[in-house]
Symmetry: C2
DNA sequence: CCGCCATGCAGAAACGTGTCTTTCCGAAGC
DNA sequence: GCTTCGGAAAGACACGTTTCTGCATGGCGG
């Protein structure tokens, strides 16, 4: 049987369009992609025939020929033993959502992939580039990707001289320092920290910033750490922190659920917030606007980060890069609510200060 | 230049492996895929050479040849004007996470795609199948996908005779009826509903189940609806519901943030929970375990749904289907906490030394 | 001793597209 | 009048893999 009649079942190919329009394959390709020198009459004719046949170019064939798939990987490193922490917290959900929207707007789609170095999964999909969330130092997946010539942009400043194309991150040190200053301004004398025992960049930078701040103001560090992937462990660690003999009068929690964990622990110990205990936690959840009391949160602006990461990555893919790594720092946002304001609203006080930090 | 020496830059191809191993292309392909009849010596030799060269088969070429890409689409329909509601609520995050894990375990990856019928995005990626979350009646994207022979499995029972391969859903009617019975058992005399004004299946089924229950027990329906995509509107609607002259003494909120919305509204009206107002909301967030008071939540088991959807879809793709649509109902889980139990567990605060709750 | 089958492997045809090169043809220039 | 030039479209190849077909060899039964 001839090749033009053999494909009765299945989708229409470019050959079918060419035959139906009475032109060659080249003309069809050029007409649909706007590439060659064709009169407008031919262009519209071919397009009309293609539409009538319901023709959709094969993504696989196009990818094979052009080398561009229009797919970006989105990976998340694992915390501890958990196999997969995608959208473990609201941060990831928001960031992934923004990244997906930004990619879609430029004609790309996102593929969710694990950060493990399972070859079979990674090699089964043709990637134009990859977004890596919080890569570990010397991440083998990242090095292998760049060795294959795939651009990698990371959310989180990479450590260990990772050869990424670029990165986007918050200034975690400045955020923690500003937040601690805010608590001190509100009257905190001893600020505690609820942190993780993992080695990821966010946890490490935030913790060292806390230690530096303590050193600067001459306060003994008071902190508890726990495996961040275990939600129950957070509640226990919050309890431990408030059970210490050197109980802090203000606490910053690094992870999303810490706000409710600390509120619950404070209730168990009969501590009033904010009268007896000032509270701030890092979270993207709007639920903290409606808790009792509302909790001051530090937002890492995941939407801006997700958008920026994708823009940098696509710029690099499409050859708009400047040759050197592109680095971008997104400012954080401290959303001040009742839990970190010592003065009760009943007493007449000076109007609340403008939220413009240093 | 010959074809074997021309590709110096770029990844190693199967030809390079064949040349380096001193065998033919066929032998390399068979050895790596475990297909042909080869002695184990040749197999291991080829594999060793391929590893040494860092050979990764081209996903695009394999997809073109075999017709299988190993990619599954994951789409979310839009609510109202919002362009993209992926992981708008914790439900989507959990469901997407479970679906991703389940797909990965069977060698597939998930591509996040918008539910709009933008051709250019959909046709730029070769899909083996698609998961559609809560499709609208007669969804054009779904019909076009099945017309192209791509299996579609939906999260949420499809309406409008949508030709999906299968679907997974909760028994929303039974869940709402059981939950309302639970509230009535706890002493509720007039149960209100906080619902959405969208036409998606979840909202519609839950609301009609509520109305049926009211009819059965002879209670006048008391409900407020609002656009579920707008977080501020939820707080306003919660306020409206509690401001009514026929104020309910128990409320069920259909959406994730309704719990804190209703708690805040109750505080504004001086209503104690659960003494004056019983509360249940549908949510997957663990934050409700630590609110004041903890809120009873209805979990739709998104992890089980995400896993089941992917299993059904991959079974259909790999030809394990039975010919008829596969339908699966996942039971819901009512997590009973203090907000829906009229008796207060204790009037004094329990000693702080035992962090093990309940 | 001949034919046959099982084994081990190579050659080559696809998969469907993009694009380089070539061909054709009419019109303009010397 | 012949060449050249440029526009329009066709031919052919390549992308890298899978897989069908087929060739050679050696062991075995008849």
């Amino acid at each position: 049987m001839s090749r033009s009649t053999g494909r009765r079942l299945g989708r229409a190919g470019i050959r079918d369009v060419a035959a139906a329009a009475g032109v060659s394959i080249t003309t069809v390709s050029d007409a649909l992609n706007g590439k060659g020198r064709l009169p407008d009459a031919t262009r519209s004719h071919v397009r009309e025939v293609a539409d009538r046949l319901g023709y959709r170019p094969s993504a696989a064939a196009r990818t094979l020929r052009t080398g561009k798939s229009g797919l970006l990987g989105l990976t998340v490193t694992t915390y501890g033993d958990e196999p997969f922490t995608f959208t473990e917290f609201a941060y990831f959900a928001e960031m992934a959502r923004a990244a997906t929207s930004a990619a879609l707007a430029r004609g790309y789609a996102l593929v969710i992939l694990p950060a493990t170095s399972r070859h079979d999964v990674w090699s089964n999909v043709a990637l134009d580039g990859t977004v890596v969330i919080d890569p570990a130092d010397g991440d083998p997946v990242v090095t292998e990707l760049v060795r294959h010539g795939i651009p990698v942009v990371s959310d989180g400043r990479p450590g260990g001289a990772l050869p990424v194309t670029g990165w986007v991150d918050n200034d975690h040190e400045a955020a923690v320092l500003g937040l601690l200053d805010h608590l001190a301004d509100a009257g905190a004398r001893r600020i505690g920290l609820l942190t993780g025992n993992t080695t990821d960049t966010y946890t490490r930078l935030s913790t060292t910033a806390y230690l530096h701040w303590c050193e600067r103001v001459g306060q003994d560090p008071v902190y508890e750490s726990y495996p961040a992937h275990d939600p129950c462990a957070g509640a226990v660690a919050a309890d431990r922190l408030l059970a210490r003999p050197d109980r802090p009068d203000a606490v910053y929690g690094l992870f999303d659920p810490n706000g409710t964990d600390l509120l619950a622990a404070a209730r168990r110990y009969g501590l009033r917030v904010p009268e007896d205990l000032l509270l701030v936690c890092c979270s993207e959840s709007t639920l903290y606007a409606a808790t009792e009391p509302p909790v001051t949160t530090l937002s890492l602006k995941p939407r801006r980060i997700g958008t920026a990461v994708v823009q940098i990555l696509i710029d690099a893919i499409e050859g708009l890069d400047t040759g050197r790594p592109i680095e971008q720092v997104i400012p954080t946002d401290l959303i001040i609510r009742a839990s970190s304001q010592r003065r009760s609203p009943r007493t007449t006080v000076s109007p609340p200060r403008a939220p413009t930090g240093d």
